[in-house]
Every structure is written in C-alpha cells, then in structure tokens.
Amino acid sequence: MAKIKIEVKQFFRDQKNSFFRFLRLVKKEFRLVRTDPWNLLIALVLPPAIIALLSTMESQKIEFSPLPVAIVSNDSNSYVNPNNFTNLAIDNYTKPYINAVVKSFYLFPKAIYNASKFPYSMELARRQLLNAEIKCIIVIPVDFTEMLANGLPGLIECVPDSSRITDIQKNLNAVYDSIKIFTNENNLTPQIRLAPFTPFSIPEDYDEDFSSTLVLVIPLMVYGIANVLTILIIVKEKPIARLLLTPVKRSEILLAKYLTFSAILFVQELGIILAAVFGGLFIRGTIINLFIAVYTLAYSGLSVGIFISAASKTKTEANQLFLASFVVIILLSGSFVPIENMPIYLQAISYVLPLSHGGPMISAILSKGASVFGFHFYMLLAVSLVLNILTFIVFLRRRYEV
C-alpha cells in the first residue's frame, strides 16, 4: 500500500516536472521569436494592415466615380412622312439620348462622335477603348430615330471593355441607367433595348472559360514565379564574400545573376505561352506582342526579387519581404479592387507596382488585340529599371566578410 502511494507521488512529481519543463520551453520559444522582430511584425501587423487597407478601399467604393464612355451616333436614316411622302433625314432622338447620358449619375461621356458626318468615328472610339481612356462605346444605330418615331423598339449597342470580365456587367448596368432616364424624359414606353455588342468576346471555337481564366492567371503566375525564383539568389550565396577577395567586381557578380535568370525566364515564358496556345487560349493580339508583354512582366518580377535578395540580411528576411510585398502588389494590382476606386494615395502606390501594369497590359493584348507598346509597357520598364539601379546601389554597399 505504502509502495503504491510512493509511486503515485512519484508519478505526480514527474508530471509536475514535465509541466515546468514544458513551460520553460515555451518561454524559450518566445525569447527566440523576440530576437526576430521583423518576423513578429509581419505576423502581427501585416494582416490587420491588409484588412485596414481593404476597408479604405471599400469606403471609397460608395463614392462612385462615373464610367467614362464614348458615344458614336450613326443616326441618319431618312424618315418618309406617310402624309406627304417627304423624305427627311432625321436624328431627333439622338440629342435627348445624349442628354440622358450626361444626366446619368453613372456615366461620363468622354467623347461624342457623329459617325454620319465623320466616317472614322468608330475607329477613334475603339482606340480610346484600347488605351483604356473609356470603359464602353455606346453606339446609336442608323435607324434609331426612325424606329422610335414609328413606335418600334430602338436599339442601343454597347461595346464594353472586356479585358476585365468581372466589369462587363457593371458597364452594361451603367449604360442601362441612361436608357431609363431617356425613356422617362421622352415619354417613351420602354421600347428601347440594350444590345451588348462585344466585338472583343472570345470566338466560339476557343475555350471561353480557359481563356478568361488565363487572362487573370497568367500575369499573377508570371510575376510570382519570377519573383520567387530570385528572392534568395544573393542572400543564400555565402561564398560571394570569398569571391570578392579575387579580382572580381561586384557589378560583374550581379550582372551575371541578372543574365542567368533573365535567360531562365525567357525559356519559362516561351513554355507558358506555348502551353497556353496549345491549351486553347484565344489571343486577339499577336503572339510576339504577348511574349514581349509576358517577358517584361517576368523581368519586373525578377527585378523585385533580386532587389529583395540584395536588401535582406538573411534568408528569413528575404522570405518575409517577399510575402509582404507580394500581398501588397496583388491587393493593389486592380484585380481585386479597381484602381479608380482606391483612395488617391493608394492609387499612387499602385501606379508604381508591376502587377498593376502587367495585368491590364496582358489582358488588353489577349482580349482587345492591343499592341504591347503602350503606357503600361513603358511604366513596367521604368519601374524595373529604377529597381535595377537601386539593387546595384544596395549590392555595392552590402557588407561581406569572410
């Protein structure tokens, strides 16, 4: 009996010891965590910061900014008066409709063209759409007034920016608002119809889901992979310290890294594009344009990656910097919240982030057939170049000790 008592006592003593040992281990863990404040900062501050960021975007959304559109009027069909058989070219309803657009809270007519007088109107409007100056072309057809005057349903055609699939419906809804105002003010029973005319839609013999998914995925993947590929290439190479005790120059070491990884990315982008084409991606633009765009974006990912690598002291630091920057770059890229809806200071930041340009650039080539050499391309090049210069400065000053 006494023996059992001792054993039980011993058992509890062991448990107690084990518990205190465990507590001390926990304490040690906290001490270790504290030695890396950067890690803690990312873990504790980043998530609330991201949510706060999003909340400022949401609040901004209520202050809706009107959709920039161009109106192209073809309305010029003659109207034959059944009483005296006079032939009149009329466009009586065009002006009231334009007024409705002006009045609409959701629309902002950036350009108004009279196509019956000026034959290149549609071409000009289309160019504006490609450059993302406007989000939608509203086309008033040839027989608009004639149909309405004869009590027939009038048609309004729409060419929305289809590069961001999620926005198409939003654009059409805004146009519909102008139609509502027009029918109310002109006492027309709702006989006017919206006819979404999407010259930028994906042809039937291509896989629509695949193509519209890739428009979103390609920029993210290209940027992300180039970034991940390069974030460690400087921090993890310890023998650089010893290399520097040979007649080598720091700039040579760095250039060699740029060259190597640019070459790897070249092959990678070829692979991505080949796989996408064989998988059934619809590319309205040329493949060369697409390749240049994708490669430029990848290069910007490499530029950010090498910069992170040159600026971080340890591998952990590089990984954390990568994570933090990646989250911010994606959040502010405009794929989640349209850049126009962000507060102005966030817009300014997003302006210099690679994905904010890479995404629209690639989708414009894929869905609108745009040329790569536009604003986004030059912006991307400029951002990469600035990063490259910064990387050189940081790397030349980096401390190396054998």
Binding site: K238, P239, A241, R242, L243, L245, T246, P247, V248, K249, E401, V402
Partner: protein, 365 residues
C-alpha cells in the same frame, strides 16, 4: 626575370609600418610594424580579439582606408588606393576560416576551383592542370574531385580551400586560423601540408592563428596582444630572449601548493616560475648551469620534496605564455596606480553596487 626574383630571397612581399586601425572611437591596432620576405611562413599569434583578423583585412583590401593609417605595401602596392585593389587581389590568395561560408558545397572541388580560377583570368584547362597538381600535393583522392563538396570530410574541405587559395600561384597566401576546429591529429596534418606547399611551391604564407603549435612550421612568429605587436622574430630567437636562453628545470613536487611556489619564488636566482600541471612547475634561473645545484639545495632546505626533475629548453608555447603574463602584470600595475588616483570618487559608487547586488540576491531567493 622570374629567376632573378627567386634568387633575391630578401625581397619584401608584405611591408607594414606603423599601422593603426580605428573604428570610430575604438582603436583596434596600435603602431604595428613588420615585414614578410619572399618564401617565408609567418605566424601571427594572439588570443581572441587581439586584432589578428583586422590586420589581415587591411592587407587584403577589406577595410576602408579612412579607418587606418600607416604605410602598408602588399606586393609593392598599397591597399590605401582603391585602384590598387584589383591588382593586389590578383597577386594574393586567401584561405578563410570557415569552409561552410566560403565554398560552394553543392559543387564539386574541381568546379569550385574553376569558379574561383576564372576570376583570375585562368582558362578551364589551365585551372584543371594546376588543381590536379595541388590536389596531389594535398592528398585529395582523385575519386572525390568530381563529387559534391559537401560529401567530403572537414579536413578535405580545408585542403580544397587551400588549393583554391593557391590556384593562381599568388605571391602571398593568407590563412585565417587554418587549424581551428580541426581535431588534434588533423591539425598536424594541415600544418605539414602548409610546410610541404611552402617548400614545393615557394609560396610566402601569412598564417593567423591562436594555435601555438603552428609555430612549429613558421619561419617567423609575431605575437599580438590587444592590438600591439609584442614580438616579431624567429621562434628560436624569441626563446633565446628568455632567462638562460630558455633553459629551464621541470620539477615534479610532492603535494605541490601555492605556498611552496611562493617559497621557490623567493630564491634569489629564480627568474620565473610557472605551474604547468597539478604537481609540475617550470623554473627559469639566471645563470642556469651554475645555480641549478644551489637551487636544489635550497629546496631541500625548505623541505620541498622533489619527485622528479628534468632539464629542457622552453618551447614557443611557454614563451608566448610568459610574454603575455608579463604584459598582463605590467598593465595590472599601471591600472592599480590609476585606480589609486580615482579611488575616493569610486568608493561611494562601490557601496551602492554592493547594496544593489544584495537586493538582487534577496529578490532571487
């Protein structure tokens, strides 16, 4: 041309005069001067923090010239001028302390060699040829040449690292603690390889170490303490400066105590005594041959029982210890004098400190 150079064994490869190094307020190196001649192995000894690495870093262009003063020439070029750096670096080799940080572990020894050799403008075949020679001298087995370096043993990695340091036939090879972290037997191996390379290739070597055994292979030794050069000469010459030219008596004494050592020290011809074991002491006498017998009489008189006795010549280790000890004693004396001056002021503070310690102890309990 090359031949004339080789004949002139007095050619100075490294010349350091009045080197001072400071980082901000910290004055690390004080007025250090020495010369390294072609073909010599120089050992720079000193306990941790003495400034050995700092000196090498000046010589290898790693410290900005604003942090140091003095005349420094490495292969007749001064690292003070930035435009000399590449030239100097192309003429020197460096074997750093830690292999883990300084070799490409995923690559093979040959590829490692090739990577470093190309920075000296050497072609692949050329580097390969020299590497094979060096690997043979260094006994690196041929079947490991193309394996990933991480599969080699610590000693083998060290030897590969030495081969890299020598690949471009440098005028001088710097080695930072080549024997630290290597087990006792391998240490001697490494030292032997250094000697072998020095003899076969005639490479001048500058070794920093706190491994006093390394003096065995050094032509000259320099001893550094707290940034000051205390001695610079051949080990033999340095030992000769000891009393009786380094002759000493090693005694094993029964039940050796500190009191006994004090008694021995009181003997009029005893220059120095150091305890070297539980019951062993080494004693330097002035006029050793003459005074040894009288000394033994003195011990018998004082009732100190000698178990055994031998005569010996001091080794470098002993010289180093004595030199450092003397230096420390001198400094302690100086400090005491300084302390006497400022005592009053500090006494109040000391009492405060004591109270604090007491309070802390109480809190801990």
């Amino acid at each position: 041309m090359r031949k004339i150079e080789e004949q002139n064994s007095n050619e100075v490869v490294v010349d350091v005069q009045n080197l001072n190094v400071s980082f901000g307020e910290a004055h690390i190196i004080h007025d250090v001067s020495f010369q390294v001649k072609k073909g010599e192995i120089i050992g720079l000894f000193g306990i941790s923090g003495a400034g050995k690495t700092t000196i090498i870093r000046v010589l290898t262009c790693q410290i900005k010239s604003k942090n140091w003063t003095g005349k420094v020439l490495v292969t007749d070029l001064t690292p003070e001028k930035k435009k000399n750096h590449q030239k100097i670096l192309s003429r020197i080799g460096y074997v750093p302390q830690l292999e883990l940080l300084n070799l490409y572990f995923e690559l093979s020894p040959l590829i490692n060699i090739e990577t470093f050799a190309s920075n000296y403008g050497m072609k692949k075949e050329e580097a390969q040829k020299v590497a094979e020679e060096l690997f043979t001298i260094l006994d690196i087995a041929e079947d490991t040449w193309t394996n990933a370096l991480k599969k080699l043993s610590g000693g083998e990695k060290k030897r590969v690292s030495m081969a890299i340091g020598l690949i471009h036939s440098p005028d001088v090879l710097f080695l930072d603690e080549p024997t630290t972290g290597v087990d006792a037997n391998k240490r001697y191996d490494i030292l032997n390889y250094l000697k072998k390379l020095n003899r076969r290739l005639g490479t001048t070597m500058f070794v920093i170490t706190h491994d006093l055994e390394a003096a065995l292979v050094c032509d000259k030794t320099a001893i550094l303490r707290e940034g000051k050069l205390l001695a610079f000469d051949t080990p033999q010459n340095l030992i000769q400066t000891l009393p009786s030219k380094g002759l000493l008596a090693r005694l094993t004494i029964e039940d050796l105590t500190e009191e006994m050592i004090e008694i021995i020290q009181e003997y009029e011809h005893c220059e120095k005594i150091s305890r070297v074991g539980v019951s062993e002491v080494e004693i330097f006498l002035n006029n050793f041959e003459k005074n040894l017998n009288y000394f033994i009489d003195y011990l018998l008189e004082k009732n100190i029982k000698i178990v055994s006795m031998s005569r010996d010549v001091a080794n470098f280790r002993r010289f180093f210890q004595i030199l450092i000890q003397e230096q420390e004693e001198m400094e302690r004396k100086e400090e005491k004098e300084k302390e006497n001056i400022g005592r009053e002021r500090r006494e109040g503070r000391a009492i405060e400190d004591e109270r604090e310690i007491e309070e802390n102890n109480a809190a801990n309990e």
